[in-house]
């Protein structure tokens, strides 16, 4: 009997630790229930604070909270403070759906800023549409989607690729080797890269997809060596990224002749591989932590003061930050913050001086005009911009190069 008690106590302790371990990082502010706006305006912040993609999403949540702090310090919206209601979607799409429902129905938030993986966005989409809510989704994604209830502030593939691919061909050569994680984003992105290669006279000399989390690349590197490409185009994600770059270096390949070009390798990956390994490789994004704009300097300093000097800031973190500011501007502009239709309309054509430069929301398709920048990794472990677009590039949810007739598909307003 006594032994049985001991055993259950041990299991109980383990379970408790497990639960608090996962919940410990969660901070939910604001009381649940009640939809009164007399004391402030509730905004949902919904990212993964635990699980596989917490790596990036924690920073996005932090950036959104920082933006709310700044907005409140400037007097809030319509004289009211924004109240963040934060939830953890735990890297699971099903949890994202439940939490989105909770935020909209129970907490009665005016809008949600959140989502990172496409799977989480797709899980939230029907919930947001049914509940007549607003979701601001700040992550680059594969496109081919439009919702009248979602504002997409991350890059569509054309914004990262249409300058990037020709620039790589011009500077390194026309033979491309694809390496990617085996899921929807790399497949969709590579379709566009291939279309661009065709247009600009490039060619594909090899293509490999590995399971997510895969970290043994000896055989892929052998194939690359025998294919002799000019550019390795990588859309690997997660733990695979640093492993691949490290093993590329250990086999003695030279980034000056055959760099890894990627639309998704970011500052966080660079921290995981080290500057020595990353040096010479190339990435395309609208934003880099090293950008030399007054808005970015202010943003990086505020972020580092609040969350620590060594926290890497990536393009999705910047997007979460300016998305929250954009939401505040839209709330300020609309005459009825509780009306999703009017709030979405208020977003159309809205401009904001973001850390990456002046961006704006397209009048018709709820996506954002963003900058395109190509950057090389330097000795200092930072990205150095080598080419940038003069002005923000128009978003193409259905890329023109793949779907020339689909221009009107996303004509929402």
């Amino acid at each position: 009997m006594k032994k049985w008690l001991w055993n259950s106590a041990a299991v109980g302790l383990a379970m408790t630790m497990l639960l608090t371990g996962c919940g410990g990082a969660k901070k939910t502010s604001g009381n649940s229930g009640g939809g009164s706006d007399s004391d402030g305006i509730k905004v949902g912040i919904l990212f993964s604070l635990s699980g596989a993609t917490a790596v990036t999403e924690k920073g996005m949540a932090n950036a959104a909270l920082l933006a709310i702090e700044e907005i409140n310090a400037n007097g809030g919206v319509k004289g009211k403070k924004l109240i963040p209601v934060q939830e953890d979607l735990a890297s699971q799409p099903s949890v994202a759906a439940t939490k989105a429902k909770k935020l909209l129905q129970q907490d009665k938030v005016v809008a949600i800023v959140g989502g990172y993986t496409s799977a989480s966005r797709q899980a939230m989409l029907p919930i947001v549409e049914q509940n007549k809510g607003v979701l601001v989704y700040p992550t680059l994604y594969e496109g081919e989607e439009c919702s009248k209830n979602i504002i997409y502030t991350g890059a569509t593939p054309n914004q990262q690729l249409q300058d990037f691919v020709p620039w790589m061909i011009e500077n390194y050569g026309k033979k491309f080797f694809f390496i990617g994680s085996d899921y929807v984003y790399p497949a969709e992105t590579n379709k566009q890269v291939k279309a661009l290669l065709k247009k600009f006279g490039g060619e594909v000399v090899g293509e490999e997809y590995v399971p997510i989390g895969h970290s043994e690349f000896a055989s892929v590197i052998n194939k690359i060596k025998s294919a002799q490409p000019n550019v390795i185009f990588s859309d690997l994600v997660g733990d695979s990224v640093a492993a691949f770059y490290k093993q590329y270096k250990s086999y003695g390949l030279d980034p000056a002749k055959m760099p890894i070009a990627s639309p998704i390798t970011a500052e966080t990956d660079l921290a995981a591989m080290g500057a020595e390994v990353g040096e010479g490789h190339i990435t395309s994004y609208g934003y880099f932590q090293s950008l030399d704009t007054p808005e970015n300097k202010k943003f990086v300093e505020a972020y580092h003061t609040k969350y620590g000097q060594n926290e890497p800031i990536t393009s999705v973190i910047e997007a979460a930050y300016f998305s929250t500011h954009l939401l505040a501007k839209a709330l300020e502009k609309t005459d009825d913050i509780r009306n999703a239709e009017k709030l979405i309309k208020a977003f159309a054509g809205l401009e904001f001086q973001a850390p990456q430069g002046k961006i704006k929301i397209d009048e018709h398709n709820n996506h954002a005009y963003l900058y395109s920048r190509i950057a090389k990794i330097g000795k200092d472990g930072q990205f150095h911009v080598v080419k940038e677009s003069k002005e923000p590039i128009a978003p193409e949810p259905w890329a023109k190069i793949l779907f020339p007739d689909k221009e009107k598909t996303c004509h929402l307003h």
Binding site: N7, Y209, A218, S219, N222, A272, G274
Partner: protein
């Protein structure tokens, strides 16, 4: 030839990853779902010692062994000791521990990956074949680790008692061997080996809270294929998996090779349920 050399280095990695699990799983019949997290803790220890404090790499390896062994010791005395003979509960408890360890590391170091730079940056070139020095080191280290473990198990008093308990627990108890203490030491030793695996893998892979998961699968595959509770089996199992997967990837790509290797293992287990190396039962 290049594929065979790469296969050898993959096999080396598998030996190092699976050795600790083989000892814990084979002798104590404990399915340790937290094995990957012990590897992860070894990798983080190396990060702290080698990258942050700038001490030599072998100090990091040693520290990784000690820290992981301590974590293993605590796991055994606090939780697993109370659950022997109840495989399902052990499975759940160690799985819970793996989640706790992941989250603790995430709270201390943050969720993003850390850098451990390879201590041996050079490479060996024989004609067309390229072998990075660090991969060569892994192959040699795996062989060394196998020899050292064999020595410990067959030439020391702990090893004799360990093998006695493995063969017949009740009889050893009758003979006055403190089996519960042997269990604790064995678990700590196996955990320590996992820690060393983490140290050796850190410069090659990504050091992150989630890194352990893929190694857990690899380690179980190796141990089951080779034969539970047999060191020679672990060595053979990792050799077979390492070489076949590298040779298959040249024909079928990474995902295809993984599927084929899984099929191969299922076939072997179907016809030789005890694995390639059968341990003698007396």
């Amino acid at each position: 030839m290049q594929q065979i050399a790469d296969g050898a280095s993959v096999a080396g990695i598998l030996v190092i990853v699976a050795l600790g699990l083989s000892i814990i799983f084979g002798v104590m019949k404990v399915i340790n779902m937290a094995h990957g997290e012990l590897i992860m803790i070894g990798a983080y220890t190396t990060y702290v010692v080698y990258t942050l404090n700038d001490l030599p790499f072998y100090v990091g390896m040693l520290a990784a062994f000690v820290v992981a062994a301590i974590v293993g010791f605590l796991m055994e005395t606090l939780v697993i000791k109370r659950l022997y003979g109840r495989p399902l509960e052990t499975l759940l408890a160690t799985w819970g521990i793996s989640i706790i360890l992941q989250q603790v590391i995430r709270m201390i170091f943050g969720p993003d990956g850390k850098t451990v730079i390879s201590p041996l940056a050079d490479k060996l070139e024989i004609g067309q074949i390229v072998i990075p020095h660090f991969r060569l080191f892994i192959i040699l280290f795996a062989i060394g680790l196998l020899i050292a473990t064999t020595f410990i198990l067959f030439k020391t008093k702990f090893g004799t008692q360990f093998r006695t308990v493995a063969q017949n627990r009740e009889m050893s108890e009758c003979l006055g061997i403190n089996t519960s203490r042997i269990d604790t030491y064995t678990f700590a030793f196996g955990a320590g080996l996992a820690g060393v695996a983490g140290a050796v893998l850190a410069p090659l892979k990504t050091v992150s809270p989630t890194m352990g998961l893929s190694y857990l699968v690899d380690a179980f595959m190796t141990v089951v294929l080779g034969g539970v509770g047999s060191l020679a089996g672990t060595a053979l199992g990792s050799g077979v998996i390492g070489e076949t997967s590298q040779l298959l990837t040249t024909i079928s790509g990474e995902t295809g090779a993984k599927i084929l290797v899984f099929l191969l293992i299922i076939l072997v287990i179907r016809f030789k349920p005890e694995g390639l190396f059968r341990m003698e039962r007396r």
